[in-house]
Amino acid sequence: MQGERLVDVERSALAVLVAAHVADGWRFAMLVGLDDRGSPWPAASGAPAIGGPGGAGFAVEVVLERPAEPILRLRAALPADEPSYASVGRLVPAALWDEREVKDLFGIVPEGHPDPRRLVLHETYPKGFHPLRVDAPAEVPEGSTDRHYVPFAVHGEGVYQLPVGPIHAGVIEPGHFRFSVIGESVLFLDARLFFTHRGIEKLVEGRSFERALPIVERACGVCGVAHALAFSIAVERLAGTVVPDRADRLRAILAEFERLYNHVGDLGNMCAGIGFNVGSSQLGWLKERLLRTNESLTGHRYLAGAVAPGGLAIEPGRDALSALPDRLVEVEGDLRAALRAVAGSEFAADRFRATGHVPRETALRLGAAGVAARASGLAMDLRRDHPTGAYGEFRALVCTSDAGDAAARFDVRAHEAQASIDLLRELLADLPEGPTRVPVGPVEPGRSALGWAEGPRGASWLWLRAGDGGTVNRLHLRSASFANWPVVAAAAPGNLVPDFPLINKSFELCYACTDR
């Protein structure tokens, strides 16, 4: 398939191969687990059966990307009776969480992994229960559990542990943060997430693409366009669907509006993180107006339901579209006024600067994505590196900063918000006429493809394999937030505890699209 290359490798060689590619400028995108025991697709059909003829075992697949090159999929078959392989994360830390997730959900063991703890399925789940295995029971079985959670922490004289969450003072999602502190200084942070794990990947198994989409799209509330785009692109790549020009253009418009309202809201949240109320209320009100614009375009404040395989399920009305240029002028003026208020505040600069510093090397090693990566000097953006749809013609400006602190993440967001406004103006000019949706053709069962989109927080990667009759056989969604949480934990040490709310907000990650 054009744009991606699937290579079968030995399980003993996988980790070394991935490490060699990463050393050569490739970036780790995701690691996908597969259980192909009893798979119905014979190897001879050309469908990628895994684990030998008939599909006899498990597999892991590592997806790597490098700008302007076909995306590389390295697949290693694992025997059914001993599903293990040499840990990739031991050499490429960006894969550490992926491997823990695959271990929980499939029981596939990464040998030599430095962190043996559970990740997705907390200790309350029975031992030996791996829900994504083909023979997993529908309900969580009774069984012995290991209810004791062991946080990673620093021990020693004068070192205390400060537990925060999972219930927080504020309307935010659940996460447990275990700080090791001396006085006010953070020595180490262990973040425990996945309290909102809903089993989305299991939920969509066997569903038609149309019935799977609303669930994938709602993996989180604020990255829906990115997830829906990644899913739709994967389906279209499987079916060989060519999306009409008008739909491509409108999809990019929706994706940029998603970026814009998120960035505006996140800039406001960073102001809230330091108690700078002028900034948070001005930007909060601007975000609200953008949400109403979203509603005028798609009938949904968070743009859900519009993007679908083959184009758009809901086409923005002509009145709503023609109102956008004036709306953008207003948004641009108000955004600049609010940002001037923040820029003019020495107090804000004092809190933002040098707080939550992530060096370029750390961001690279941990596989940071999106704003978090670009604010640490990594010029990466899927809109430019692997353009889909209208982004081939309309080039996105990649905004970076070398500073790596909260101030850099604020500035990168501010520049990207302005760049989105500029790009929206280009996208809205001479909008092509024509249909906005074409039927998606049949998809050969057993074929798999990738989908991707650059969301407000970075790359949404989606791995999709079709089952019989246009259904989902296996779907894996790796959000930018999943990539960035280990970076948040790395950004905390060396800062004061009261700066953590700001550090957290400077990344502004989704819990739900991490937990899925």
Partner: protein, 114 residues
Amino acid sequence: MDLFDRLRLALRAGVVTSRYPAELPLLQAAVRGLPEVDPDRCQRDGACVAACPTGAIELSASSWAVDAGRCVMCGVCERACPSEAIRLGSHVTLAARTPEGLVHRTELRQVMEP
């Protein structure tokens, strides 16, 4: 930027919150709220029930019901209905005091069996 500039920003924005629930939220014309059924058009073929990704729709001999606790307003039912009897309406104030209160039921017209 001094305090007066900040004050000017705040005064220019004014009061932007609404007096909910006395004033209902401002809705755009395109809003897609809870699905509504046209009892005259519904053929009771169950296409919506089969299509709904969250299992929010229930069809009985005399009524069609959607559970706002499950519905995500995705519009799959609207597109699945062969007789175009369903459309997403503008009903968006869905809070209820009981789970049963979330179920919105429409009585269907009694169809004579041939």
